[in-house]
C-alpha cells in the first residue's frame, strides 16, 4: 500500500461518514459543521489529483464563504426544536430506495479496471502555452506562416489563471455577471418589508393589509 492510497482511504472514509452525518443530524448547526468537514476532505482529494488551485478555491469559497452564510442563516432564523418533531419526510422510504438505486447504478457502472490509468503525468496540468507565428520556408520555396505552440511548465495556479484569462475569458466574464445578478437577487428577496424611517409614513394599503390580518387572526381565535 502506497502512502497516497492510505491518505485516500482515510480521507475518503472521513468524507463519506461526515456526509452521512450531514444528512442524519437533527440540528442544522451540526449539519453545517459536518458539511465543513466534508468540504475540507474534498479539498485534500483535489490536491491529490494535481488540482492545487481548485483545492484552494474550495477551501476559500466553500469552507470560508458558503459555510459562513449557512451558519449565519441558521442563527438568524433560530427555529424552535421540538423534541418530538419529525425529522424525516413522509416518503423517506422511497427516498432511501432511490438513493440506494443511484448508488448501485454508479457502482455497477464504475467497476475497477474500466478506465485504464496511464502513468501519472500531472505535468500537463501545470503547463501554460504560448503561441507564436513563425515563417517557415517550404522545400518548394514558398514561405508559410505557421503557428508554433510552446509549452512551459509553471504551477497549477498559473496554468489555470492563464486558461481562464485567455481561452475561457467569455465564460469568466459571464460568471462575474452571474454573481452580480445573484447578489442583487439575494438582496431584493431577503430584504425586510419596511425600514424604521418608512414606518412613520406607512402607505394606506399597508395599514389596510395589517388590519385585515388582525381581523383574520381574531376570527380564527374566536
Amino acid at each position: 500500500m502506497s502512502p497516497a492510497l492510505v491518505v485516500f482511504l482515510v480521507i475518503g472514509t472521513i468524507a463519506v461518514a461526515s456526509s452521512i452525518l450531514v444528512v442524519a443530524m437533527r440540528n442544522p448547526v451540526h449539519s453545517a459543521l459536518f458539511l465543513l468537514l466534508t468540504f475540507l476532505c474534498v479539498a485534500i482529494l483535489f490536491v491529490m489529483k494535481g488540482a492545487e488551485f481548485v483545492g484552494a478555491v474550495q477551501v476559500l469559497v466553500y469552507a470560508g464563504g458558503i459555510m459562513v452564510l449557512f451558519l449565519f442563516v441558521v442563527m438568524l432564523i433560530n427555529v424552535r426544536h421540538l423534541p418530538d418533531e419529525r425529522v424525516l419526510s413522509n416518503f423517506w422510504k422511497g427516498g432511501l430506495l432511490v438513493g440506494l438505486a443511484v448508488f448501485l447504478l454508479f457502482f455497477t457502472m464504475v467497476r475497477p479496471g474500466v478506465f485504464h490509468d496511464p502513468a501519472a503525468s500531472d505535468q500537463a496540468l501545470r503547463t501554460t502555452y504560448t503561441y507564436r507565428h513563425r515563417k517557415v520556408i517550404q522545400p518548394n520555396g514558398t514561405v508559410v506562416r505557421k503557428l508554433i505552440r510552446r509549452g512551459k511548465v509553471v504551477g497549477n495556479s498559473e496554468a489555470v489563471g492563464m486558461a481562464l484569462y485567455t481561452d475561457y475569458l467569455v465564460p469568466f466574464e459571464v460568471a462575474s455577471l452571474f454573481l452580480l445578478v445573484a447578489m442583487i437577487g439575494a438582496i431584493v428577496i431577503g430584504k425586510r418589508e419596511l425600514s424604521a424611517i418608512e414606518e412613520e409614513n406607512i402607505p394606506s394599503y399597508m395599514l389596510e393589509r395589517s388590519e385585515t390580518e388582525h381581523e383574520v387572526k381574531e376570527a380564527m381565535s374566536a
Binding site: 481548485v54 478555491v57 432564523i77 427555529v79 432511490v98 438513493g99 454573481l179
Partner: protein
C-alpha cells in the same frame, strides 16, 4: 508528485457515494436548510468527478469547469438562503412540506 495509486475508479466510486447520500438528503429531509446543504454535497460530488477526469486525461478543462461550478454554487446558496429567510418571515417555518401554496 504522487503516483496514480488512488485510481480514477476509486475517485468515481467516492463521488458516486457522496452523490447518492446528497440525493437521499434532498429527498428525505424536511428542514429546508439541510436540503440546501445536501444540494451542495451533490455539487461537490460532481466536482470530484471533474477533477479526477481532468487528471486522468491530463487536461485543464475539468478544473476550469470545477471553478465555474463553485461560482454557480455560491450564487445558488445566496439566493436559496434568501428565499429561506423570506419563507420563514412569511410562514414562520422552514419545513419544505409546509410550503405548498403557490400564492403567498
Amino acid at each position: 508528485m504522487l503516483e496514480a495509486v488512488p485510481t480514477t475508479e476509486a475517485y468515481l466510486m467516492l463521488s458516486g457515494t457522496l452523490f447518492a447520500i446528497g440525493l437521499v438528503g434532498v429527498i428525505i429531509r424536511r428542514n429546508m436548510i439541510t436540503v440546501l446543504m445536501a444540494v451542495e454535497l451533490m455539487m461537490n460530488a460532481v466536482n470530484i468527478n471533474l477533477v479526477a477526469f481532468s487528471h486522468r486525461f491530463a487536461s485543464l478543462e475539468g478544473q476550469i469547469f470545477t471553478i465555474f461550478i463553485i461560482t454557480v454554487a455560491a450564487g445558488e446558496a445566496a439566493v436559496g438562503l434568501a428565499i429561506i429567510i423570506q419563507l420563514y418571515r412569511l410562514k414562520s417555518t422552514i419545513n419544505v412540506d409546509e410550503a405548498r401554496e403557490l400564492n403567498g
